[in-house]
Each structure stands twice: as structure tokens, then as C-alpha cells.
Amino acid sequence: MTKKTWKTYLLIAAMLLPSLILALGIILTPMISVVIQSFQDENGNFSLEQYRFLFTDRMALDNLWYTVWITIVTVIGAIAISYLLALYLRFCDTKISKFISTLYLLPRFVPQLVAIYAMMTVVRDSGLLNRISQLFGYNFKPGLLYNAKGIIMMNLWFNIAFATMIIVAALAGIPDSIVESSRDVGAGKIHTFFKMILPLSFKDVMIVMTFIFMSNISSFTTPYIIGPNHPKLLGVYLRDQFSRMRYERAAAISVLIFAFSSISAVVYLYTNLKEKEWEKTGL
């Protein structure tokens, strides 16, 4: 290896400078000003009023826990379904599995609003399912809109494709030889899964979880269109407060959402670091 001279470092720094300036300008600066604003009252004086309100007001608390609850259910549901789907796609080599593996990414290419309205025409109480049931003399009302069920269903629809994509990639990285050798020494399917496949893909599962958590804790479009009037998700609540010109409270909600995202970012970093430790000891 040639030694890196100070010139190389300078060059690298110079090349990173534009993106660094942009990042500082359009990400960090607004973020800092939002944090500052969240610690102000309506007259611009320093105050903890906004946070006191968010953690004492009954409606605000309802919104907070509702958001966390929906996000966690979404994460768990998406991971469970995606993992099973990924296992199927990785280890079953049939025509159907090949067909599914070309299809499952489709939701990634459908714009969010289009998907939501499409889903609404199918599952609303007077939608496609209801009309089909009426043909057979029933009046089936799914009751999936304007409540948590609808939001979670829609969240799963969006996130399963993404999660499956990552987990399939992780499972593809597990050589067949490992699975075969495990089977050779007499391990059953379940044993192989828990001792070999799950540990080897665990890191990717954690990464997927943090990504799904982050994108759903701040979701807006889905809950705004098919969510209930109360409790509201934090994204909708934020917009609500913003449109009523309570900018300081809106800022505090943003900071709260950011704090939740940071927690998952810490989990993400921790998993990555832990992996490094594990690699050090050797296989």
C-alpha cells in the first residue's frame, strides 16, 4: 500500500466539502433551530411549557402511546411476515417462488397515495369486498378504515416489500454449504434455522427493524387519510398543531419524533459494533 500523504487527505476533504456544507445548511441548521424553538413559549422566551404539555395533556399522551404502539406492531408484523416470505424465496426453488420473487417488490414502485386510495376502494365498508358479498346476499363490512387496523394493514403493505428485499439479500449470503453441513451432522430443519440461519441473518433483521421503525414513527399520509379522529399519530398531530399556528408545540413534537428515531439509530449502531466484536474473535 502506498502511504496516504497529507495531499490525499486534503483532496478527500475538498471533495467532501460541498456535501458537508449542504448537509450543514439544509439538515443541521433547521434541526438546531427546531430544537431551540421547542424550548420556547409563544413569546419566544425560554420555557419547558411545550414538553410539559406533551407529557401531561391527556390527548397528547394518547397520541404518543398510540404512535409507539402502532409502530411497534408494524415492525413486528412486517419482520415476521417478511422473514417467512424470505425463507420461502431463498430455500424453495419452484416456479411459484420465482414468480413471487419478481412480484413482491411491486409495492416499492406504487406511490403511497395511489396505494392508499386503491386499498380504500377495496376494503372500505361500501368497497369491492362489500359489493362482492352483496352478490351472495351478505352485507360484509370489513371495518378496516379509520382505525388502527387500517393503518397497520397499510403500513405492512408498504414495509413488507422493503423488509423482504433486505432479508432475502441476507439469506442469499448464507452459503448452501453451511445449511448442508448442518443437515449432514444430523441437525433438523428447526435446529438448523435457530443455530445457523437466524444468527447469520440477525444483524440484517435488526437493521430492517430500525429502518421500519424510523419511517413509521413519523408517518403522515396513511394515518391522515385512513386514521381515526382520536388518537392521532404524531405526524398528523404535528400538522394539526402547525396549521393552528402553534409552531413551538409543533417543534416540540418534531423533536419528540426525532428522539424516537435516535433511539432506533442507537440500536442500529450498537448492532453494527457488536458484529465487529464478534468478527474479531473469529468464527
Partner: protein, 413 residues
Amino acid sequence: MQRKRTLALLLVLCLSLLTVTACGSSSSPASSASPAPAASSSPSQAASSEAQPAPAAPAEKPKVTLWTTGSQNLSDLFTAAINEYNALPDAKCTMELQFLMSGTGDTLLYDRLAAAFKSNQKDAGFDIIAENSTALFNYEAVAGSTDLFLPVDFSKIPNYANVQVETAFHKEKSVPYRITTVVFAYDEERLPNPPKTWDELTQWIKDNPGRFAYNSPSTGGAGGGFVQTSVYRHIDKSAWTSSDPKWVEQWETGFNWLKEIHPYLYQSGGSVVYPNKNQGTLDLLINKEVDMIPAWADQVMSNMAAGTLPPTTKMYQLSDGALNGTDVVFTFPSVGSHQEEAYDFVNFMLSPRGQQLCLETIYAVPVIDISTIDSPAKAAVESLDISNMSVIALGELGAQLNDKWDAEIATLK
């Protein structure tokens, strides 16, 4: 070795370029948030600027910018009106439209005005504002001054003499150009005998659980109007255009009524639902999930014209208290310029042709004698009785009313 290093450098170059371009594309929508941007290209914008060949001496005509906010139909209206006006040989100015789709940036229009006003700008590009008169009090409140809008010299708007409507906003500062109102809409086929009074409505809602719905008031004016009328019909008329907090304690009667009807409203998944946005309740009526809703008259007529609502759809008001409506006005912010030339466009909008455009594009109720307008769309509007429409302008109390609704009605099981 050498090759490896070149490769690494190339990679860094690519990555930094990628970041720059990625950031560039993501920052472009943000740039459109600055006032009077040349590149904020709503489709109507593009259309209107294309249609400005300005054949005769373009340099002499000043450019006047009209700002408005609302649903897509308003953008359609002003795009059409401005195209027609700019093509007039004796037009005194070249009009330009800045349209903010409601729900995307409408809260920012008064912020932008207030910002320009507070920084003492004189030519910030806000030459005319078209807005509901009941919303304009909010503009003044945010700017913190009643000097935000300039007085109007009505002698320079000859067609103003024909206007039959009195505005709810400051009379000397606004020129009403259309009226819009919330009505009860129902399908005659499914509901041959709709309730006539508020008491009959209460009884009808209780007798027909799940067949009535209104949208949550903070998400659309139809539900907002319904809630405001329900609350304020029990209160003295002097409160209707007051933002004085003393009236808050009299809200209880109205809210108790809203609580009373709550269990009998539209349900989905086992609980009562107030759909979001005006379109939410319209969808319920279209899909026959409910039989009656409060809705904007113009939106009902648009849906009927599009065939999504059947021709048997009817609109009406209760005899003892109509739902609220508002006149929509042109105002001239003190942070704009070219007021003299702008009068000419306003004059055009008040002419029978201008009013016909409003009527045919968005089914607006005209502000001049409807018999002077020649249009097949007249019949739909004529049946609307706007004589007893209630005008409620609460200013900052409006947000408080929505808060109270969120806290007391939305949380009911």
C-alpha cells in the same frame, strides 16, 4: 497500487457528486417556498405564463400577481379568468397567478404576508389576494395589524355598483366576487322527506343511526361550518363575527347537542367516525354509506356534473338556521403594488362575463343579479337560498373551537 488509488479517488468523486445532486433535487421544493418564486410551477402557473404572448407592447403593462389558496377548482377558475383577461386588448395589466393548494401550503399564505408586512416591504409581489372574508381576520391577527390590507377606491371599479352582497370583512377594504356556502346534501331517491328543522334533524339522526356524517372540523370547511353553526345558533348574533373569548362559555349548549347526536352518526369498524376532509363525507354520500351530509354547495354541484353524485341529489337548508357560508373577496395587501391596475382585473371579475366564469368553472354563487348572466349552469345555483346564510367569522376562536371539538367530541367512544 496506482490504479487502486485512482479508483478510490473516482469513487469519492462519484459519491460526492451524487450527494450534491441528491441534495440539489431535494432542496428544490424548499426553494419554491420563498415568496414570489419564478420557479414554483404549478401546472396552472405554467399554463398561464405560456398563454401570455402579450401582443401589444408588453413592456408598458405592469405585472400584477394574484395569490389564492383552495382546492384545484380555484386554480382552474383563475387560470381561465386570467387567460381571458390577459387576452383582452384593453387590459391594463398582465395578471399572474400564484396558487397554493389547500393543505400543502395554505397556512403559509398568511405567514408570508405577515412576514412581508412586519419587515416593512412595499413591493413583495402580493398584489391581490382572493380569500374567504371569514378567513381574512386571521390574516390580520397573524400580521398583528389592521393595516395589512389597503382601503379600496370603489369609484375605480365601475362594476362594483352591481354587487348585491355585503362582505363580512372590512367593507372599505374588500371586493366580494362570489359566495360559497355549506348546505345539507342528500339523495332524494333514498330520502324523500328530509328533516325541515334542527329538531327534526336531531330526531331523524336518532331514528336512522349511521346515516348522517360530518367531516372533522379542522380538516375541511363543510364539517367546520356544521360545527360552528350547531354551536353558534344558540348564541346571540353579535357573537358570530367576534373573536372575543367571552363567548366561549356559551359554547356548551351546542357541544351538548353534538355529544347527543354522536352515537347515531356514521360508524365503521364498530366506532363512530368523522372522516377527514370535505371529500371524505362526499365519498360516503357517493358510496351510499350515509344519506345526508353537510357539504360545500359548489363541491356537490361539481360532483353532480361529473356524474359521481346522481342527478337526484338535492341541497337545502333547515328553516330555523341555515348553515354558514362566506363571501369570497379580493383584497389588496399593503405589501403589494399596482393597486390601480389591479382594479381593472377585479372589475373584469365583477362583469357578467367574469361572474359567468365563476359560475361555470366552480359553481360559485354570483354576487351580481343572476338574471344578467347567461349560462345553462344558472339553474343549479338559483335553487340555493343564500338569503339567510349565516356568516360566522371567529378569527382566533376558530382554532379554539376545533381544539374543544378534538378534546370533547373526537375522544367520545
